[in-house]
Amino acid sequence: MNRDEIREGVLKLLAKFAGRGAKKTDLSEATTLDELDVNSARMIDIVLDLEDQFGVTIDDSNTPKLKTVGDLVSLVDNLVNAQKA
């Protein structure tokens, strides 16, 4: 799975968590979770869904560092590639 595929999967997943003030267009890796109006408490749910979708295990210590779409993509990308190695 390459980074583009992971990005697509992450954006699709995040759409389920977007709040009522969410930015809806021009989404990129630079888009912040604040711009998507994601309730910060829901990071836990996002992490659980990412684990299920990509077959990885995400340590809780990573959660506070996740601020942008790119942060999520990079984390998943690294974990998926680490599994391959």
Binding site: A15, K16, F17, A18, G19, R20, A41, I44, D45, L48
Partner: protein, 428 residues
């Protein structure tokens, strides 16, 4: 003190969702009691309930996917009823637009049991299986007692007091009463007032164990809820939610809002679990005092009441309720007001019963009718002297001053009086 009027209504009931359909269901005497396969699987003696049927399209049109993920049934009922009420009162709501904080509006949304479906279906099984890590972030917000009010407050951006009243089956009426006091005192312009109760066989199982639920009509659900009947065999558990917008008359008139009714006053008390009162039964003196205090608070006499929406659950409490009403209103059986039991149609919504029934009360007052109190063709012998007051079929009735009574475990009582809003009121 400010006059307080009802400027919005919303409901999710077992026999209908939304005010237009609920009004129609009341007029038709439509039952919302159905067979519940899950109660059968769990081998409960009672296998029927008033379980709201909600079109998923309505839920998706009202809430974002991110919101739906964290809602349980009591939050869903509270949210749908509150949004309908909010719009009915003339305010806008869009599921994908975040409004500013409304500092002039609060909410008292009660519940009796709350998020038992979350507790029974997810919290306990997952915790016991050692899977707490995978429960996600949204457990406490679903099972905390204040879940319905917190949910509604967030949906609508309410900046006034947002709280939950919990007084068992009096929760709904008492919530409306508390909101009324807040607006009457001028502390807020408006309060969303009501309650919700989730649909959970586990919540109902405790009542089944007490042998207080109907168990003789599992094969004929529409016949199961039989208030005032000689063959009443216990109440039918139910779920749902009802919300009213209570608003100061000044605010309503300034906005040009439609007024459904005026709230004249009410009272809440307890019988102290003495002199016949217990955790499950009412002290007659407490009930009568509550009704008399309600009349006094509303500045009306017992003989002014022309309709009562009873608590009337289909238990041995029904004849006692009628006796207490006769005594407290100080009227004779032949001048007893019209009375019906909305529970005959929708079952007993526990913490949601008072609010759903207050919505039914206001609709009947506003539209000039009383709905059928079904399944009491075989009237209980102790209430036969008020037979002419109990409509077996829906009928037109010019109502002016109406009383809603609710009673709950803990020997608690809550009553409220609504007045028809019409030309006389508008003049002053």
């Amino acid at each position: 003190m400010h006059r307080v009027v009802v400027t919005g209504l919303g409901i999710v009931a077992p026999n209908a969702t939304g005010i237009p359909e609920f009004t129609k269901a009341l007029r038709e005497g439509r039952s919302g009691v159905t067979f519940q396969p899950r109660m059968n699987e769990l081998r409960l003696a009672c296998q029927v309930a008033g379980n709201p049927h909600i079109d998923p399209a309505l839920v998706e049109a009202t809430f974002l996917e991110s919101t739906i993920r964290v809602m349980n049934s009591s939050m869903t009922y509270a949210g749908l009823a509150a949004v309908e009420c909010w719009r009915d009162a003339g305010f806008s709501y869009e599921r994908d637009q975040r409004s500013d904080v409304d500092w002039n509006t609060g909410a008292v949304i009660g519940t009796g049991v709350g998020g038992m479906d979350t507790v029974a279906d997810r919290l306990i099984p997952m915790t016991n299986a050692g899977e707490a890590r995978r429960m996600g972030s949204a457990m406490p917000e679903q099972y905390m007692s204040s879940a319905p009010s917190a949910f509604v407050g967030g949906l609508l951006g309410l900046g006034g007091q947002v709280t939950t009243v919990s007084s068992a089956c009096a929760s709904g009426t008492e919530s409306i009463l508390q909101a009324f006091e807040k607006v009457r005192a001028g502390q807020l312009k408006r309060m969303l007032a009501g309650s919700s109760e989730g649909a959970s066989p586990h919540a109902w199982a405790g009542f089944d164990a007490m042998r207080v639920l109907s168990r003789a009509h599992n094969d004929a659900p529409e016949k199961a809820s039989r208030p005032l009947s000689a063959s009443a065999g216990g109440f039918v558990p139910a779920a749902g939610g009802g919300v009213l917008m209570l608003e100061s008359l000044e605010s309503a008139q300034q906005r040009g809002a439609r007024i459904h009714a005026e709230v004249l006053g009410g009272w809440a008390n307890s019988g102290g679990q003495r002199n016949g009162g217990t955790i499950t039964a009412s002290n007659p003196e407490g009930v009568q005092r509550c009704i008399r205090q309600t009349l006094a608070a509303a500045c009306v006499k017992g003989s002014d009441i022309d309709y009562i929406n009873g608590h009337l659950t289909a238990t041995m409490g029904d004849p006692k309720e009628i006796a207490n009403l006769l005594a407290a209103l100080d009227v004779k059986p032949d001048t007893f007001p019209l009375i019906n039991s909305t529970k005959s149609l929708i079952g007993h919504g526990l913490g949601a019963s008072g609010s759903m029934e207050c919505v039914a009360t206001v609709l009947q007052l506003r539209d000039g009718f009383v709905h059928a109190s079904i399944n009491c063709e075989d009237l209980h012998s102790q209430v036969r002297d008020i037979q002419r007051s109990i409509p077996l079929a829906s009928k037109c009735a010019k109502l002016s001053t109406v009383l809603k009574v609710s009673f709950g475990f803990g020997d608690v009582n809550a009553c409220i009086i609504f007045k028809l809003w019409g030309a006389d009121n508008e003049q002053g």
